[in-house]
């Protein structure tokens, strides 16, 4: 009997869905649905990988049960007993051995074919995509939106990568110093950020969300503290974010957080003697440093210090007092030492800088943090 084409397709889709759903059920039973789980995809690339993992997993499980079962049976059934003598001396059986040479070969062929299909689908860089350049630094992620800033300049930000839902993005990946690795488990697999080489990857977020991400190639002392977030917004919210982000911020008047004065903070930030602007920039101000992350609209960042702490005024103040203690080895900590801070910044200075940085905000509705 010939199965009609559409029925076969339906059957295949059904099987695949069943494989995935049952895997997902097993996964959540053992707590495999964490906020960075690869089995809880929210993007097209990660979803296709998950769909590939499912059949490989079930095939692997079947092989596991059969082979280990046979092993355990053999050990129990043929263990030495009191009356055991020398068993029949069997040296082999070419036919059986050829058969079990072919069996793993068949599995390898099936896995390869499934693999190549997903590989082909995931290698596509769609023509109509949003381009973002991601640069790995020791130990933070920089994001550039080419031609999206004021006057067609690139729009620069760090640690939070905003993308629209339902539209493919092409990420151009670069490494500034050593090899880093760009990994957003719920959206896509990893791609290296290698100095001297440009890599590309593409994915589409399928649901709005805040996705946890990290550097996953060992990149030196604070490798563990190099994280970022991908914030996928519905298309209209993303447009809102982009239109605000390209206009340089204005320091708010009046008292800010921690009783600081944002206007004074802005002046301090740009003051060469206070060192901030040697490394950091804020668009539309005299602060034009390029070594550290661009801090324009810092107030809207979800985290600070390369994705390791919630962005609160208290954490920022703590960071400014002694960055080297919170993130060992980082460049800022080598300049802004506690001794230097004591000699060059008053408590009020720090409060003002915090108030200034936290005052620069973009108003968009964030999706609920991803579970």
């Amino acid at each position: 009997m010939r199965i009609p084409r559409h029925l076969a397709k339906l059957l295949k889709a059904g099987l695949l869905a069943a494989a995935m759903l049952s895997l997902a059920a097993c996964a959540s039973a053992v707590g495999l649905d964490g906020p960075a789980s690869t089995l809880n995809s929210a993007g097209d690339q990660a979803r296709r990988i998950e769909e590939l993992m499912a059949p490989i997993f079930w095939m692997g499980l079947v092989v596991f049960i059969i082979v280990e079962g046979f092993l355990v049976y053999t050990v129990i059934r043929f263990r030495k007993r009191a009356n055991s003598g020398i068993p029949a001396q069997v040296h082999g059986n070419t036919r059986i051995e050829i058969a079990w040479t072919i069996a793993p070969a068949l599995i390898a062929v099936v896995v390869s074919v499934l693999t190549f299909r997903v590989q082909a689908a995931n290698a596509v860089l769609p023509a109509d995509s949003l381009y973002i350049t991601a640069v790995g630094h020791q130990w933070w992620f920089e994001f550039q939106y080419p031609e999206q800033g004021a006057d067609g300049q690139p729009l620069l930000t760090a640690s939070d990568m905003y993308i629209p839902v339902g539209k493919s993005v092409i990420i151009t990946l670069k490494g500034a110093d050593v090899v880093h690795n760009f990994w957003v488990p719920k959206l896509a697999g990893k791609t290296y950020m290698i100095p001297g080489k440009v890599n590309y990857m593409s994915f589409t977020a399928e649901q709005p969300g805040v996705y946890l991400a990290a550097c996953s190639e060992f990149c030196g002392e604070a490798h563990a503290l190099m994280r970022f977030r991908v914030i996928a917004l519905p298309a209209d919210e993303f447009a809102k974010w982009l239109s605000q982000a390209k206009v340089p911020p204005v320091a708010a008047a009046g008292a800010g957080v921690l009783n600081g004065d944002p206007t004074r903070g802005q002046a301090l930030f740009a003051d060469p003697k206070k060192q901030c602007a040697s490394c950091h920039a804020v668009d539309g101000t005299a602060a034009k440093g390029i070594v550290g992350p661009n801090l324009t609209y810092f107030g809207s960042r979800l985290t600070l210090a390369g994705g390791i702490l919630p962005n609160t005024p208290e954490n920022l103040s703590r960071w400014l007092h002694n960055p080297g203690a919170m993130k060992p080895g980082n460049l800022m900590g080598k300049v802004i030492t506690p001794t230097w801070v004591q000699g060059n910044l008053t408590e009020q200075d720090i409060a003002d800088i915090v108030a200034y940085l936290e005052s620069m905000k973009i108003s968009v509705d964030l999706p609920v943090a991803s579970k």
């Binding site: 964490g34 690869t38 068993p87 390869s112 050593v178 550097c215």
Partner: protein
Amino acid sequence: MAVIERPHGGVATPQAPVSKEYMGWESWLTTVDHKKIGIIYMVAAFIFFLIGGIEALLMRMQLGTPNNTFLSPDVYNQMMTMHGTTMVFLVVMPFNVGLANYIVPLMIGARDMAFPRLNALSVWLFLFGGLMLYFSFMAGGAPAMGWFAYAPLTMKQFSPTFGVDYWIIGLLLTGVASIAGALNFVVTILNMRAPGMSINRMPLFVWMTLITAFLLVFAFPSLTAGQIALFFDRHFETRFFNPAQGGDAILWMHLFWFFGHPEVYILILPTMGIISEVLSTFSRKPIFGYAFVAYSGVSIGFLGFLVWSHHMFAVGLGPLANAFFAAASMLIAIPTGVKIFNWIATMYLGTIDLKTPMYYGIAFVAMFIIGGISGITLASPPVNLQQTDSYYVVAHFHYVLFGGAIFGIFAGLYYWFPKFTGRMYNELLGKIQFWLTFISFNVTFFPMHITGTNGMPRRIYTYEAGMGWDLYNLISTIGSFAMAVGVLVLVWNAITSVRNGAIAPNDPWDGASLEWAVPSPPPAHNFDKTPIVYSRRPLWDIKYPDLDAAHEIGTRAISRRERMEQEMAKMGEQLGEDHIHLPSQTYNPLIVAFGLLVAGFGAIYIATPFAFIASLIGLFIMGVGIVGWVRDSHKDSPYLVSH
């Protein structure tokens, strides 16, 4: 001990000068006996195993709870780098080499390795290389760039301490040891087999050692070349790997993994050989499908050179390159699957005697199946991109290298313990150690599949709470400490058994290969008379001459006894006498190795004039050693005279 007569009748052999005999501890420093060298290898590797284990425990302490501050990131990174480097270069490799050093000449009916002095040089270079690597802790800090040492993190700018230099020079010394050792094995196995032991009658452990030796010879130079180029980058302003100066970071990855993947088989193939011996002996059956097992080892060796880029799927080499390396990696599933089926079939219908080595042999197969299956997902590039550099990989390769290689080594250690020491180990303690290790191994490493799938990257010294990683990390940490208890039981068992264990007979397991034909431990000259081999199981030919007619595929049905008599008649005349020549003890390999060690220290601090002079002194010491070596080599061992 049997008296060895040096026949002087017939053709008169001129009496060679006899060298001094060293006794006591000096007999170890001057030894060229493959058995003593094997023991030095194994004891040193075991001590490094304890050190690498302590490093692992410190890491597990740190990772037991989120946001822990037990270790600073720099110390953690040093532990991570040293644990990997130690376990690969200073534990599994030298332990396998030590086992093979001891057992292979016995198995093939030889008196020693082909180049006994080179063998001594290898062991001292390995030991000095390892000690040099560890000296870095006292010289400003151990390397902290991962055992894979990706450029440009290894450049002076990012790794300013001398840790990387100690790593380079230390591993260069062990690398020279490995290549010299590998050539020694190739020559020994190809040339020194007892009469009648054709290639297809060699025990499978010898087969796997031969394949491993070839892998070493072809794979190690890639690492050595890369390390020398890296050393030049760091000290002489060359630009091989630093992209900031026009170098290529990916070139290092290729050089490293072209060595690094065959290295995996260098670690696992010898233990596959051990398992083949153990499963066969304790099932009292020959290995099922000898040719399939041997040739699948050969094909794993070949394929091992075609898959290195599966460590680099995320590098961005392009989908076509990734597809090629994926297909090649999948192919390895075939010979690996064949081996597993053949091992199980060896036990099937057998009489399985569940002694401790057999427990470890069975556990090897059981754990290797899991490591093999998790390897299939890693061979698929899209899935790999989610799993690489995550804890899933850590789980995978520990199933292969601990559940595989280390379990195989434990199997071999218990199996040959009576031969090495002349004493039986304690069976009860052996089984306690097995169950402790087997259970806690799974408790430690199985949860890592889950943390990795839950998105936990590798090589992080700390992590946030609430990621779904907390509980599983805690379980892993608990498991790792239970495993440490298991290792202590092994140490206790070994020490007490060496002292008070029951005296071991020549052949405690009813073995089939030639090492069981000689006393435990064997005399320095191994065999009183060179054995003559008629089949794959020479000792069973003697013990059970009528058991197994026509067992060799493709031969006509004649009884073994008949066959033996025929071949004996053929060979008898060719082997009229047994002239035993043993090489003399000598300090010279140790002196050469020491010279290289001094020169290596000088190289690390090459920028200072004092270090430059030290290098020259080291090379001079090496020269003295070589001259002494050449002048010594015609001397005979006093062993023959004094016994």
